[in-house]
Amino acid sequence: MNATERLAQGFPDLSRMMVARQPHWMRWLTATAILAVLAVIGRAFANGQIEWSYVGRFLTVPAILEGISNTMIMAVLAMALGIVLGVVVAVMRLSSNPVLKSVAAGYTWLFRGTPLILQLLLWFNLALVFPTIGIPGLWSVRAVDVMTPFLSALLGLGINQGAYTSEVMRAGILSVDVGQYEAAQAIGMGRLRTLRRIILPQAMRVVTPPLSNEFIGMVKATSLASVIQYPEVLHNAENIYYANSRVIELLIVAGLWYLLVVSILTPLQMLLERRFSRGTLQLVR
């Protein structure tokens, strides 16, 4: 009798037994319950006062298509402005210069502390405060001509976004090891180049998920610009239902477009994350 056999004596032989599958009764039960609730809601909508044919018809009318493209243009541009501002403000906030630090902190405080819709209205109505904008004596324009719905929305959304993005970027920059700054300095890099070549690329890996989140928020926040006449999708949907009174149908049309856009963004986020995780060990599954 060898050592293995001796140790096995007195114990049942488990080596050839399979682990039985657990029956997941609760999962089946809850899933059935949820489906039942969904069926009830679905029936209610199907039998409710909704003309589904209108939804289908208005989904692709020119005004709606133009609206969703305006929505996307605004979301992308305002987010770009927000990211640029966010990086600059994050760097200011992390600098040792007390003036830069306070300016950055003040900016974040002001634009995070007031409602976005209020900021949009302020930008749009800037002409009430400053009838003309320009350099006195040299060049000036009337503020009403400059502060178009487009520019007001871009400034309002972008500058507000910058205040939030700066905190995300700050977290990303702080996540990079100090050894990276020292290694970059040791090969003679200045502060800006270190930031651009070494720190930000590593911070991007950390900030991509929260920034994607922010971008999805931005797509939907553009709908607030409807109050300042920017022709985004909700604004155009409203204009249509003012004319034909199909309120719910057109709100559903706009909602479906938002859902579609946000659904496309998720795989894009995956691509970005893969791009920025270059060099880090992937979790193998």
């Binding site: 090891d177 050894g179 990276q180 020292e182 290694a183 970059a184 300095q185 040791a186 090969i187 003679g188 890099m189 200045g190 502060r191 180049r193 070549r197 070494i198 690329p201 590593q202 890996r205 920025f276 270059r278 060099g279 880090t280 060990l281």
Partner: protein
């Protein structure tokens, strides 16, 4: 007597109330390999970091190749150099860190070419050729396209040495380059350093590898509590230290 390549004169450094360096003076001649030894907290890293200005000094001066580092004298006063001027001065030294500090988002090759291309403005293809040559020199030619996370500690440290050498420095600083490594990986890094020493590179090495110091160092400096207690030829300091503190340290380490 020729001028020393590095002249450290009465350098002091405080962290708050704590004196990390107290009036340290030291010369390193061109081509010399100098090993710094001493207990933890004795100021070895701080001294090394003062030489490439990662840590600004409080008083005293460091001259590298005849050039005063970090400050400029004008009408009896010292003025701090700008960030850009300091960056330019750093090009004369290469530094190797205890924890490698490779850029994780760049391959081994990109880590090495980053400085020459971005900072020194050298042509991409020249930098690439030189980087490949350096990788061959540290025995890692086949790892050119590997990311740091795909390399062992010893391989990462050898890439880090190549990255520092790519800037063609006149002085190499090593801060405990092998103390973060598994024991079986220490040898490969020391081999590269020995080859570098033989090639005539001036080196300041903080190390606990007394065998390496005995074999490679021209001089050994023993530090304690922010001062240099004993400095001399490697064989003398390690073989027959004069100071009681050095003797106590060595007998504690060698055991």
């Amino acid at each position: 007597m020729t001028k020393p390549l590095v002249a450290i004169r009465s350098v002091s450094k405080n962290f708050g109330d704590f004196q990390a360096l107290k009036q340290v003076s030291l010369d390193v001649r061109a081509g010399e390999v100098l090993c710094l030894i001493g207990a933890s907290g004795s100021g070895k890293t701080t001294l090394l970091r003062c030489v490439n200005q990662l840590t600004p000094i409080d008083s005293g001066g460091v001259w590298l190749d005849g050039e005063l580092l970090g400050v400029r004298e004008e009408r009896g006063r010292l003025h701090r150099l700008t960030e850009r001027q300091i960056a330019r001065q750093r090009l004369k030294t290469g530094m190797v860190f205890q924890r490698f500090n490779l850029f994780p988002h760049k391959t081994a090759l990109e880590n090495i070419t980053e400085g020459p291309v971005q900072v020194q403005g050298r042509k991409q293809e020249d930098a690439l050729a030189e980087a490949m040559e350096l990788l061959r020199r540290v025995g890692l030619a086949e790892k050119a396209d590997a990311y740091p996370s795909q390399l062992s500690g010893g391989q990462q440290q050898r890439v880090a040495i190549a990255r520092a050498l790519a800037m063609k420095p006149m002085l190499m600083l090593f801060d405990e380059p092998t103390s973060a490594l598994d024991p079986e990986l220490v040898g490969e890094v020391l081999t590269v350093m020995k080859e570098l020493a033989r090639s005539g590179m001036t080196m300041m090495v903080v190390t606990h590898e007394l065998g390496f110091a005995r074999e490679v160092a021209d001089r050994v400096v023993y530090m304690d509590h922010g001062t240099i207690v004993e400095a001399g030829a490697a064989a003398e300091v390690l073989g027959g230290p004069r100071e009681a503190r050095t003797q106590a340290f060595l007998s504690a380490v060698i055991r």
